[in-house]
Subunit: 629 residues, 2 copies
């Protein structure tokens, strides 16, 4: 069905797109270094992401710290629940396994047994597919049922136990303060929701974005970039009124046709469907317009950087996969040598995170909206006299205590009032304790006009795994070409057909040979030309080695550089140069003075290569003469 050539690890390593981090020391699984072309492509992806989301959608971008304190990640649920189950070899503690992955492998092996019965096939498949959904107890029962042993030694395995995936680190010299490396960038956004809302003139809806490293101490990091212990996320939290999830720009995207693999289809072994997003939202398949809008924006972004449309689909989470608070969640999956790989998650997380932090930090994160039609209700308030009494009683702290009480929510005041019926009540203000006696704090019930509707915003979260997108992009733009352009040659060499916007360098500069490379006129032309490229913000590279021009073209095709500029003997006379395009391998001849602007237009997409090819003397084969049609 699909026939993508996996990018050879060899090319990635040889041209240093990426490789194992600390490779000269042997490296550690799960950590990678991006080399010059890889780092450039990754930066381009991030910069296109900022263009598509932060600038075009007017998001507020923030940059929070990687190290976060315990209380934050306790509230978010990561300290207690961000775990995987592990099992250990009981006789050799250096051998440990991620329980769900081991179970999947064991079931997979059983499924390979020739001639197994249908009932068994069904059972093994079910267990394999649910491997990551079992509780600790269920997992242990299943390990016992199938008598699963330590793979290499055959020894018994321990009961499954929880392993927290966060990297812990102590903060400060006392080591008294427990910190962790953030497992996702999202939490930094929730912590700063209140301050961002202020910057947005206290208006909903609005979105906040963050791009940065996240860290997960994976038990079994995968080969390649798809499950690293350190990775780059680009996350958006789009805060909405939970009752108003329509999106003003939805109409502009609703006719977009996407491949949707909805939960029903997955459960009933059906195929994904092609459907417009408008239809999907109207039929209730996608929960709301804002979710639908970001699904389309995600798709547009992925296509714009060069991923193949037919290899992008959106898979809905099954009810069992979804967190209890989420109302709908879709993963953008991209097809490659790992099969369909989750690269972006787009979830409606409701008000879960803001509520958790508001409770833990004892901080009001509610949104207050003026009501068009105010109404009346009964409230408990401090009597005027009692307010004055408290001000006097606590002297210089009096004002603070009084204002603190007045700012408390109704439930708190009811509590205090109840306590005061039978004795004193303590209040904690600014870290100190104050005792309210019965006669001092007196409450009364009054009618109050309610003019404000307070609620905790819901949130739609598009979350991008930049390294996975990078990795899939390498696969989608890779192809092989016969070596030396001879059709009968069985040896091939790679070409990475990056779009100009994501290519590591926009052009490569090639002096025809060493005589040119040392010519003063070349050096002068080079100086002013590269200055022009720098001013246009067009990155470039050069290859002044001894290799033939054909070999150097090939080397740069392998790097994915879309354009090659050759300076030859004619250039020294008339300042004309040859421009070659990577994918067609066609060439045009033009004055160097026109090249900077042409490259800018070609890379920006305001002129096509076909059009440039027509405008200037050209040839389709390097052996021909340049001609003008």
């Amino acid at each position: 069905m699909y026939c993508l050539l996996p990018v050879r690890q060899e090319l990635c390593k040889r041209r240093f797109f990426y490789r194992q981090a600390s490779d000269i020391y042997g490296g550690v699984a799960g950590f990678y270094t991006y080399g010059p072309p890889g780092s450039a492509v990754k930066n381009n992806i991030i910069s296109l992401w900022r263009q598509t989301f932060v600038i075009s959608e007017h998001l507020l971008e923030i940059e929070d710290s990687c190290i976060m304190q315990h209380s934050v990640l306790k509230a978010s649920g990561h300290v207690d629940r961000f775990n995987d189950f592990m099992v250990k070899d009981v006789k050799d503690e250096s051998k440990f396994f991620r329980a769900d992955k081991l179970l999947e492998e064991v079931m997979e092996a059983k499924l390979q047994t020739p001639g197994i019965a249908d009932a068994q096939r069904h059972e093994y498949t079910t267990v394999r597919n649910q491997a990551d959904a079992y509780s600790q107890k269920e997992m242990w029962e299943i390990f016992q049922k199938y008598e699963i042993k330590s793979p290499e030694t055959g020894n018994d395995l321990s009961e499954p136990y929880e392993f927290n995936l966060m990297f812990p680190t102590p903060i400060g010299p006392g080591g008294y303060l427990q910190g962790y490396l953030r497992p996702e960038t999202a939490q930094g956004i929730f912590l700063n929701y209140k301050f961002c809302l202020e910057q947005n003139s206290n208006r909903l809806p609005f979105g906040v974005a963050q791009v940065g490293r996240s860290f997960r101490n994976e038990i079994a990091p995968r080969a390649g970039l798809t499950r690293q212990r350190e990775f780059t996320q680009a996350e958006i939290e789009y805060f909405v009124n939970p009752k108003q999830k329509d999106h003003p720009k939805f109409a502009s995207v609703e006719s977009t046709v996407l491949i949707l693999f909805h939960a029903d289809a997955q459960l009933n072994a059906k195929d994904p469907v092609k459907m417009t997003v408008g239809e999907a939202v109207r039929s209730g398949l996608i929960n709301n317009e804002t979710l639908g809008y970001f699904i389309v924006k995600t798709w547009q972004f992925l296509v714009s950087i060069g991923l193949k449309k037919e290899y992008i689909r959106f898979r809905q989470h099954l009810p069992t996969e979804m967190a209890h608070y989420a109302c709908d969640c879709w993963d953008a999956e991209i097809f490659g040598s790992y099969g369909w790989l989750e690269c972006v998650g787009i979830a409606d997380r409701s008000a879960f995170d803001l509520t958790a932090h508001a409770n833990a930090a004892k901080c009001d994160l509610q949104y207050k909206e003026s009501l068009e039609k105010p109404f009346e209700r009964e409230v408990l308030i401090l009597t005027k006299k009692s307010g004055v009494d408290i001000m006097k009683a606590f002297k210089k702290d009096g004002k603070m205590v009084k204002e603190f009480i007045e700012a408390q929510p109704q439930e708190e005041l009811e509590c205090v009032a109840k306590k005061l019926e039978t004795g004193d009540a303590e209040v904690q203000v600014d870290g100190r304790s104050f005792t309210l006696t019965k006669g001092l704090a007196v409450f009364e019930r009054k009618k109050e006009k309610v003019t404000v509707n307070a609620f905790t915003p819901g949130v739609i979260e598009p979350s991008f795994g930049i390294d996975r997108i990078f990795s899939m992009l390498l696969e989608h733009v890779y192809s092989a070409r016969p070596k030396d352009d001879k059709e009968d040659d069985k040896q091939t060499r790679g070409v990475l057909s990056f779009a100009a916007s994501s290519a590591p360098y926009k052009c490569v500069i090639l002096p025809l040979d060493q005589r040119i490379a040392r010519d003063k006129r070349y050096l002068q032309m080079l100086d002013s030309f590269t200055r022009e490229l720098c001013e246009q913000g067009l990155s470039f590279t050069s290859d002044e080695s001894n290799a033939t021009i054909g070999r150097r073209y090939a080397r740069n095709d392998e790097l994915g550089v879309p354009f090659a500029v050759t300076f030859d003997f004619e250039t020294m006379e008339d300042s004309s140069v040859t421009l070659r395009e990577r994918d067609t391998m066609w060439q045009i001849r033009l004055p160097l003075s026109l090249l900077g602007e042409l490259l800018r237009c070609l890379c920006k997409g305001s002129e096509s290569w076909q059009s440039a090819f027509q405008r200037f003397p050209h040839k389709k084969n390097s052996n021909e003469e340049f001609r003008k049609d």
Copy 2:
């Protein structure tokens, strides 16, 4: 002498340039969050840095991991020597102090004593200035001599002990592998030198850059962004032949005049001097051309983002400050409310780091250069017969063992040969051990033609503290203006006069009032105009609040937005808009259709505001009518 207004913390917090991280939880010292305008300015600084260094200097940029393994940081010296001395209150262990900082404070206090004698003043000053240079023993002697006690409690203090400033974290579920958060981005570059050299066609000199987070578990983080526990570095390692440190582009910068505060001047209480870099290098004040070149490039970069020339100086490290292997080191210091603050370090670190990693990782990091005049020398080599014998003896491993022996450096071979004189010799190949017996491995001495000169490259390291530069930039571009533009008003409000290239948003869009904001024609014009801005990559913001237009201008002056575009009732009729510039507060009137291109030119610097002001109908005061001169 200097009169910079410190940027009010209040402005930075209120407009969310930055604030304490996890603020709603109370935060932890040393961690900050950049809000939307701060994050945008910081990203602009980084992007200009990439433009100035990576693109213009053709550097290879890489991206390494933040978590690094023990062996790497052991070799670099960070595990053993990246320490500060601490002292603890012997009765209250929760009170601890950085010994040098406490000593500085105690000496500072003594210096404030009225009427102290000159000899004492000299003594206290000397101790204060050397506080961070004492050994553990010296520090303890000084603490005893001055009877320094725990500041708040008056209790005795412990002997000074070393505290390592790296954040430790265990890697993997076994916790067997000790990791640390990188204390600098530089080490990632040294680890990948070999692979980058390959990408540079094995040619020297070349530079490698990395931008990213670094982490230091400071004992006493300072208020503000200047000593954080997590910060962003942009570092370059420029690898050179240690005997050829001249730079091809030095001539283009040598006439640049800089403020140089050389070591001699510091030691003899003289003032910094103004001098051309050419003169400084020729006189030997600055060690070499490459160092001088990067000092100028650093200065050019700092000035280009908007820092004030007169508040930038280069301070040479004193011989006592400099690492033993460094040959010269200059800090770019920027003046602000903290005095002169080190923001960039430019060091010639010789071959120290590469040598350390080559030894620890047992990996050849030498550069091999073809000699123009080859010469002969005597070498020890395996005899041809012995090579064949070894191939046979170790069967399928034979080839590997033979090639391993042949690739060993001469010293190693001499060792093996020596061992074989008295018995067997073991060699470790690919993690396994092979025994060479006397008869098996036989060496002979032969004359060899040496055609290659091998050496470990030296390195020039410009290292930028991006957060410090950001922080100083805020101070340099800040000024105060009377509120409501009334000269007699004593209240002022801040203006941040960012250069367009570093401004958080290039323009703000303002509908005159709510009637305009809700007008369909406005929404249509807005849609196509913002689309144009997005295409140009010009970031923008809008302010559709109820505030008067004057107040909204002021708000955006405070954010540092250089241009404001106002849509009013006339706009609805003739599509003309008002463009106001932040610093002059002058306004021009022009068709909306011309605005996108004009903004692009103004922000790029290809048209000045003065010129635009002349070209279009204009006014210098908001009460005037627009007129054309």
